[in-house]
Symmetry: C2
Subunit: 430 residues, 2 copies
């Protein structure tokens, strides 16, 4: 007896049959005695189809109008899910993001949630109805215009709504059984994790794991809201994303069959970054600040940074950083604009790289992790071009074509291989 | 220099190219110095496609959810039209019915507008932007739920918005050049009318002419708002729908090349009605009241009624009425339920009928119209089964297969045939 927020992604509501299946699951949860609020994404490829339409009409549509257009997608799926539930004899009512009280700033296409005032959702729950809320969208506090939260924003909607409603858990339904120790398309023996901390999940998301979006995990961590990532295609329990304290409490109480938190949660590869090297930077104070100041002004997200040891004879050094491939043109443009001021010699860009990461909260207290990490990569013949670490993550950059070998080597070296193969429902891997 | 509300139907915004064409027209009007507010329908077959989806999910979807679903259609078209206008260098902003202040009752699927509070539209106009408003939809005053006005509701949205904004004219764009003296698929030499009164337009709409919906004309008449029905495929002036006084003033001023209001505006056939005969009704007071009371309780719209002269030997008579074919099952059900109380013998239904009408404000002052009407039908071999008249209309019921012959005969007899053939753009006739 509690309140559950369930989020269903586009592949879970891709057609009429899928929508009816989702409706049966929602009704089953409700009939088991839970209050249920649901967040849905647009059906299957709807968002891409709408983007295609926009492109046909205008090469550079205004963000306000693009958001108005794209929000039609969830409007369709949420109404259909509500219909299917009503057809099963329970009362469901659909609500737009605006009606559900998802208040955002006015950054069209990438709006941030600044408040959630779910009065109508609470009224529906009090009337024992099942509210179905459009994911991915909100209304701007100042302009009252419709906004979208950006790709993957439905996860964030679900977590924000769950936090505002004081839900017991936010269930994120996807087409895999939970959070896995690696991408099952890369590592068929990827292991499903029973629990993972918010911090590990954030590192995994940043490292390229696509199962949950960074903002959604950040939001859940801020409110201490449990997330349950599970499959909409099976009834198996998935992966709980929790605070360390909550995991410790579960272990102590023997709840959920958790024996001990594993040292390593998973490995991941990210092939979407590029490497940019600024060659021949004069080795004097303030040069790095000038470089990264120019990149920050151009709103480039920098991930890893390496500065070579200065060559004494020339008094020059090289600075290398990684950023999303889509930002390379902006980044080099921003740097060329300050080339005279900085005095560097040339820019070399390289999109053929992969970032390979190992994530685990246990590495804080287990000092041998780095040694095993680099030894297993060396044994697999992986050349390491850049290194970066956090308290619970080690990442390296290598050639893109070596990513699969590297991830598989790490997965095996850290004893993560499962006995059987991971199930990917629907065959899309996401 | 004035304020124009333009309404574009689904065929005018059916694809990207059409949307760009419409945008050019809107921008041209704006650059000619007019304030412009636009109302759009959903693209082409979108509404039918959404209805199909709903049917796949649920056989009897709740009206609230069906309205939520269908309103996605205008959301898509209005955002795309706004994008196309912005692409031409003018500022356009799209608004849902709710954002535009279209306040309705809560009759989902057939909501009536009870107030229009277009504050955001006025703000946009004051900022010299072009507001693009979703037709067909509103928000219920009491429940705050999204409603739709029913098929053709976009015309009503446009007229209601134009009245609330105090616009000089509401332009209804369609795929014919204006209001014609007959359906051009039936009468190729149909003549375009320069002006027509609200009353004639109401009679023509009720008689089966599909160019404007009854509720929209009623709304315009109540506010004395001029409607200009014209083609989105050409720049020709179309048909003005005006009050008799406004037409008289135009004639007096020599404006718009109006010489004299014609005696007859047009002819129309309606093939959507059915004839129901209640056979052997006891000829005593109150029987008709019992029949039509039962039909009214079942919300059946009755059009024509005929009662035969009673047969003295039996003391019984027959009562015949027409109603929409879609209401026949409900009508006969309602009558069967009171059969014992009324004591009629049987019900005969006949869906093979056509209602053929002649409409013209001039028939009030030209007494020969009825004679010419019936003589020309007789000469064409048309058998008349029922007759009904209003001050400015004569209608008869005949066999469905005779409808075309009847309309053509009347069109010629009253001198309505044009020199050339009417243009139907896009080839759909609507």
């Amino acid at each position: 007896m509690g309140l559950v927020v369930q989020k269903y992604g586009g592949s879970s509501v891709a057609d009429a049959a899928s929508i009816q299946r989702v409706a049966r699951r929602i009704v089953a949860t409700h009939r088991a005695g839970h209050g249920v609020a649901v967040v849905v994404s647009a059906m299957g490829d709807t968002t891409d189809d709408l983007l295609d339409l926009a492109e046909q009409v205008s090469p550079h549509p205004p963000g306000r109008e693009l958001d108005m257009l794209l929000t039609a997608g969830e409007r369709i799926s949420m109404a259909l899910v509500a219909m299917a539930i009503n057809d099963l004899g329970e009362e469901a009512r659909s609500y737009t993001g605006s009606q559900a009280g998802l208040i955002t700033d006015s950054s069209h296409g990438a709006a941030r949630i600044i408040d959630v005032t779910p009065g109508r959702i609470q009224e529906a729950l009090e009337a024992d109805a099942i509210p179905i809320v459009a994911g991915f969208q909100g209304v701007a506090q100042d302009t009252k215009d419709i906004t979208t939260l950006g790709r993957g924003g439905s996860d964030t909607t679900a977590v924000a709504l769950a936090a505002a409603l004081g839900a017991d858990v936010c269930e994120i339904y996807t087409d895999v059984d939970g959070v896995l120790s690696a991408d099952p398309r890369v590592v068929p023996k990827a292991r499903q994790l029973t629990v993972v901390t918010y911090e590990e999940m954030l590192e995994l998301a940043a490292a390229g794991a696509k199962v949950l979006h960074l903002r959604c995990v950040e939001y859940a961590r801020r409110f201490g809201l449990p997330i349950h990532v599970r499959s909409s295609f099976s009834d198996r329990e998935g992966t709980f994303v929790l605070s360390e304290a909550a995991i410790a409490a579960r272990i102590a109480s023997g709840e959920g069959d958790i024996m001990e938190q594993p040292i390593i949660s998973g490995t991941a590869a990210d092939l979407n970054d590029a490497k940019v090297t600024v060659v021949g930077v004069p080795d004097r104070p303030g040069e790095a600040a000038a470089i990264f100041g120019a990149l920050a002004d151009a709103r480039i997200n920098i991930d890893m940074i390496v500065q070579n040891v200065s060559v004494a004879s020339t008094g020059r050094t090289d600075v290398t950083f990684t950023c999303p491939q889509g930002s390379v043109a902006n980044a080099t443009g921003a740097l060329e604009a300050v080339r005279d001021q900085i005095g560097f010699e040339e820019l070399i860009t390289d999109e053929g790289i992969a970032k390979v990461s190992l994530v685990g909260a246990g590495m804080r207290s287990h000092p041998g992790v780095s040694a095993t990490f680099f030894r297993s990569l060396a044994d697999a013949g992986i050349n390491v071009e850049m290194i970066s670490t956090s308290e619970i993550r080690i990442s390296i950059v290598t050639r893109a074509e070596l990513a699969t070998t590297a991830v598989q080597a790490l997965h095996t070296a850290f004893g993560l291989d499962a006995d059987g193969e991971a199930v990917v429902y629907g065959g899309t891997g996401r």
